[in-house]
């Protein structure tokens, strides 16, 4: 018993250290978000804001006047926060639904269905993992442009909605871990492939599917380069691109720290909410009691 307790203490100690390292920078981000830019360098080591202020958040949300904007150290550029938020939500939701949907189907087929070319197709798709994303940007931009889909919703989501090598890989590996007995049982019951997928496999695969949805969702939410060059119109701009206004605009300038950290905070909040709401579902317990 003592051995178990000792081990538990070490384990909890480990988790506590990880938590501290994880949270300290986040706390710093919040502290900066609530500090005025003027105080940041005169009180550069204080752990709490010298003077609490909501000015940064007001500037990010676009509800500060021009004077407040420039007094707070920001530029005069206008920020349509709610438009960007709406665009990010639409962008992310579309991508999650389609990318996860197609990847689940493909992943299942590659893991569980026997058809010729299965191995070949899998390895072919995996080569897609190797393409540096930044390198495929220009050809993809050219493709979208020649389809006249620049600054349109289809053009914005096109490279992401058809499933990605990562998502397919992910689902395939999980389906490989899926117990065969249950499927074989349903096969004996005479279920067709599609029915089997719908009624047996999917309901039991919610944890990895939810997890994948979260991963795809967060990745899409934080996507920057593609929306920057394809969604250039103000009404198509997503949050990450809109918040780019807080980076240093000139090479010799410092970033607008307050605005940057405030916008970082606001960008995280929607995802965090979803995480907390659906967290339980994602890693729910599957008590697989199927036995031989």
């Amino acid at each position: 018993m003592k051995q178990v307790k000792y081990g538990k203490v070490i384990a909890w100690g480990f988790v506590a250290v990880i938590l501290f390292i994880t949270l300290f920078p986040v706390a710093w981000m919040l502290k900066t978000a609530f500090s005025s830019n003027a105080d940041l360098f005169t009180h550069y080591s204080s752990l709490l804001p010298p003077h609490w202020t909501l000015n940064n958040f007001r500037r990010v949300l676009g509800i500060a006047s021009l004077k407040e904007n420039q007094a707070g150290g920001g530029s005069g550029a206008s920020i349509n926060f709610w438009v960007y938020l709406k665009n990010s939500l639409a962008f992310t939701t579309t991508i999650v639904i389609f990318q996860v949907g197609f990847s689940v189907l493909a992943g299942y087929a590659l893991a569980r269905l026997k058809f010729s070319g299965r191995k070949g197709i899998f390895y072919l798709l995996m080569t897609g993992l190797l393409v540096p994303p930044m390198f495929s940007t220009i050809p993809n931009y050219g493709t979208i442009k020649s389809l006249h889909l620049l600054n349109t919703w289809p053009g914005l989501v096109a490279p992401f909605i058809f499933g990605t090598p990562f998502a397919v890989f992910y689902m395939r590996q999980f389906f490989l871990s899926f117990p065969k007995e249950i499927e074989e049982a349903s096969e004996l019951d005479g279920l067709s492939t599609m029915a089997r997928i719908r009624m047996v496999v999917l309901p039991m695969s919610w944890p990895p599917i939810f997890t994948l949805s979260l991963i795809v969702g967060v990745t899409a939410w934080n996507e920057y380069l593609w929306p920057l060059i394809v969604g250039t119109n103000e009404n198509m701009r997503v949050l990450t691109v809109g918040m780019g206004v807080f980076k240093a605009q000139n090479p010799s300038d410092a970033p607008d720290w307050g605005g940057l950290m405030a916008s970082g905070t606001l960008t995280v909040i929607p995802v965090l909410i979803i995480l907390i709401l659906f967290g339980k579902k994602m890693v729910g317990s599957i008590q697989l009691t199927g036995s031989k």
Binding site: A38, L40, F41, T42, Y44, S75, G76, A77, T137, I138, Y141, G142, K145, L147, H148, L149, L150, T152, P154, L225, L228, I229, T232, G244, V245, K247, A248, Q249, N250, P251, S252, D253, A254, P255
Partner: protein, 447 residues
């Protein structure tokens, strides 16, 4: 298999067809709308000024709408290059000397010579030297819109505390041997944790609290705000011919001596080590009392005067061959692939005219290139409370020199950068490293 996939394929094709037709339908409905010219820029502080120019231009030219897009420096150039590479870039761009020859060599920029001649633009209205920068092989690629000079900025509260008098700051001298009065001032302003300055024998260079001089930029092949002023006043010349030379002189002893002096200061603890600067900028370091002096460009004036410490400006040190400052200027270039060349050129010419530059002058954000507009800008800065004699006194052809203009600019910068860092980090003798860098750089011109 075939039946279902045909349906899917048909569905996708219909979707794409619809998406393709939509813009066509939309554009025929808008056949009578004005021409829109897109214009890109990166400096957010100048956006209100240029929006004001656009408003005035649109009033005078009812058929043309100007749409300005401003994004940060790196995003801006990403957008410009992606746009040009795909044939749909901005109609008019704010151009920069470091980028413009690549754009010219790729045929992306319109030659403005015929338009400038037809509009009878008076090229002598600009500050001397600026207009020539934007020509190559007799073709003109932009009209000057602004310029900048370099000056010393300092925390006047700190200098007062260090008993540095205004007289000492008026005529600062420098030479590579003993650093002149400039080195003396920097050492006076450097304080260690025991309160000794760097002139004192008890100075502890490992525990410096406040540094005399801000760290130099560790990867710049122009040295615009730091080494170029001293090196040129020491006799250094960038190229065999400027603009459009084809042989660099980075191995010049005049430059080696200058960089060795910087290294002396870094090792001696009175110049901030470039290892220790991040992205915080000069105002931040002054506010935290980490540096007293710095050398900055006139585009940084507004950031500096709004710092929480009283920042003042002084003219650059006078070296063995006088006082010199790099004199850079931006211009607006027209996209060679623009669908509306007549209107785009009109906007570009307007930006290069006093009508626009007087508006920009009144906003006190930058020094416009037209001489009469420059005077107005100086007055506007003064009225806004910024004492900028340090910058303005240098606007004189004997003082100013242009940046190095040659082909392969980006490659030269990429090769030179690491060598400069090595010199500042003390990883080798300045002359040896410069000779090595220069060899690689000049090899680019013989291929």
């Amino acid at each position: 298999m075939l039946r279902l996939s045909k349906k899917k394929v048909a569905g996708v094709a219909a979707l794409l067809l619809g998406a393709t037709l939509l813009p066509a339908i939309a554009s025929t409905a808008n056949a009578a709308t004005p021409v829109t010219i897109t214009y890109g820029m990166w400096d957010d502080r100048q956006l209100p000024a240029y929006q004001a120019c656009a408003d005035a231009f649109q009033v005078a030219n009812p058929g043309i709408t100007i749409k300005i897009t401003q994004s940060g420096w790196s995003d801006y150039w990403n957008a410009v290059t992606t746009g040009f590479a795909n044939g749909n870039g901005f109609d008019v761009i704010t151009d920069h000397l470091a980028y413009y020859q690549d754009l010219v060599n790729a045929g992306q920029i319109l030659d403005l010579t015929p338009y400038v001649a037809a509009a009878k633009v008076n090229l002598s209205q600009y500050q001397p030297g600026l207009a020539e920068l934007w020509t190559k092989n007799g073709k003109r690629y932009g009209l000057p819109k602004d310029f900048d000079t370099i000056a010393i900025s300092y925390n006047s509260a700190a200098t007062t505390k260090d008993k540095i008098t205004p007289a000492q700051l008026k005529y600062i001298t420098w030479n590579p041997t003993n650093g002149g009065s400039w080195e003396r001032l920097l050492k006076t302003a450097t304080i260690d944790k025991n309160g000794h300055n760097a002139l004192s024998p008890k100075f502890d260079k490992n525990n410096v609290v406040t540094y005399g001089l801000n760290a130099p930029d560790k990867t710049t092949d122009w040295g615009q705000t730091d080494w170029s002023t001293l090196a040129v006043s020491n006799g250094f010349q960038f190229l065999n011919k400027n603009p459009w030379g084809n042989h660099y002189n980075f191995d010049s002893p005049a430059l080696a001596q200058t960089l060795a002096w910087y290294r002396k200061g870094i090792a001696g603890g009175w110049i901030l080590d470039p290892r220790n600067t991040g992205s915080l900028g000069t105002p931040a370091l002054m506010e935290a009392n980490k540096i007293v002096f710095s050398t900055n460009g006139s585009w940084e004036i507004n950031g500096l005067v709004s710092a929480k410490v009283p920042v003042k400006f002084a003219a650059l040190p006078i070296g063995p061959q006088g006082r010199h400052t790099m004199f850079n200027g931006l211009a607006d270039s027209v996209n060679a692939a623009t669908k509306n060349p007549a209107e785009a050129v009109k906007w570009a010419l307007y930006l290069g005219s006093s009508a626009c530059q007087d508006i920009v002058a009144a906003h006190a954000v930058v020094f416009p290139a037209i001489k009469t507009s420059t005077v107005k800008a100086f007055a506007a800065f003064k009225a806004a409370g910024a004492a900028i004699d340090g910058f303005t006194s240098e606007v004189n052809p004997k003082v100013t020199f242009i940046p190095p203009m040659a082909d392969n600019a980006k490659d030269v910068a990429a090769i030179f950068g690491p060598y400069l860092t090595k010199i500042y980090f003390g990883q080798g003798d300045a002359q040896t490293l410069l000779t090595e860098a220069n060899k690689q750089i000049n090899a680019l011109f013989t291929n």
